[in-house]
């Protein structure tokens, strides 16, 4: 039985979070390969449907990473993102997937260490939570069919 390797999707804003990820790379600071980074111009570009579709397609955890409060390159995109993340967390609770599989994280462009630390911590949190229940039933059926 292979150990569970979570699939994490990270929506990273170009100006801060993505640059922080790049900084982590330059520092040779490792973070788990489970994290798949999607660059967006601003965390405020991330819509609720993007997050829902990520879970629907099998992501075990999703986080939206943007600039620190007050420092958004586009003024308040990160604040809008935080409100949207809170809304989707509630929706995920309602459908039984679990709002704790989704987080809003903020950082500045120079925080390579923070990017790596939050990526690791989030991956471990999702590893403890287990696979996305949306996949669970299908996988269980496959196991039963395989004998």
């Amino acid at each position: 039985m292979k150990p569970f390797e979570p699939v994490i999707v990270a929506f990273c804003c170009h100006y801060c979070a993505y640059t922080a990820a790049d900084m982590a790379g330059s520092m040779r600071r490792c973070y788990p390969p489970n994290v798949h980074i999607l660059r967006v111009p601003c965390s405020g570009k991330v819509d609720a449907i993007h997050i829902m579709k990520a879970f629907q397609k099998g992501a075990d955890g999703v986080y939206v990473a943007g600039c620190l409060e007050g420092d958004c390159h586009f003024k308040d995109g990160n604040l809008r993102a935080a409100r949207r993340v809170a809304y989707v967390k509630k929706l995920l609770d309602e459908i039984g997937v679990g709002g704790d599989r989704l987080e809003m994280i903020t950082m500045s462009a120079g925080m390579g260490e923070r990017f790596a630390v939050t990526a690791s911590e989030f991956t471990e949190k999702i590893r403890r939570l287990g696979p996305n229940p949306v996949k669970g039933a299908a996988q269980a059926k496959q196991k039963v069919a395989a004998g």
Binding site: A48, I49, E94, A137
Partner: protein, 222 residues
């Protein structure tokens, strides 16, 4: 606009659980403005329902469509191309739209996905408040543009009750006293004298109290 709020997912699931293929229809007017049943909300609900089915080991096929309005037969007719493939219809429009779909497609089960609330206006982005009760006999000209029917908890027509405290209604500290608002407005308009004009007992027959209503324009009805 007519405001609405999405029903809890569990309640919607009770309606659609028996089916495998549904038509999810949004509306581009009022429910879009109050973020309850427009194109975006159709996408979100579709994803939420599909994930709920996947959790139960089943597949839900959702056809998503958003009509310009669901309260006009010409727009509802556009569903003809998609209706045959669906076992049931889930409408995110207000009650008017749900009923129009049910009227046109009598053999298809139609379910509401939102609870229709009230006729209201945006106070600011994301906040909508009740403004009109459709009483059929508008007195807004006499009350400085504030409606005593919709905004006074008791629908009083001649000034506040004894429960008006610091401009708020006694039922809830967050509800403005409509008559305080009316007085302030009349004062700002220099029309304090109008405050003392007595409004007689309202004839509620023009409201829903007189039965389901209809408007017929002879010049337009064929």
């Amino acid at each position: 606009m007519i405001t609405a709020e999405r029903k809890p997912i569990e309640e919607i699931m009770e309606s659609v659980r028996p089916y495998n293929r549904i038509l999810l229809v949004g509306c581009n007017e009022c429910v879009t403005v109050c973020a309850a049943g427009g194109r975006k909300e159709v996408g979100l609900l579709s994803s939420a329902l599909q994930m709920t089915f996947m959790k139960e080991g089943k597949v839900l096929d959702v056809k998503e469509m958003t009509l310009e309005r669901q309260c006009d037969p010409e727009y509802v007719e556009e569903l003809v191309s998609a209706i045959n493939q669906a076992e049931a219809v889930l409408s995110m429009a207000c009650g008017c739209g749900v009923q129009e779909i049910a009227r046109r497609f009598k053999e298809k089960p139609v379910f509401p996905a939102v609870n229709t609330k009230f006729m209201g206006a945006s106070e600011r982005q994301g906040v909508w408040a009740e403004r009109c009760q459709g009483c059929g006999d508008c007195v807004l000209g006499l009350t400085g543009g504030i409606c005593p029917i919709a905004r006074c908890s008791k629908r009083l027509l001649n000034g506040p009750c004894g429960g008006s405290t610091r401009g708020k209604c006694e039922i809830n500290a967050e509800v403005d006293c409509a008559w305080q608002l009316i007085w302030d407005r009349l004062k700002a308009l220099g029309l304090e004298k109008r405050y003392e004009d007595i409004m007689p007992a309202k004839d509620w027959r023009t409201s829903r109290d007189g039965g389901p209503r209809r408007i017929i324009r002879e010049d337009l009805a064929s």
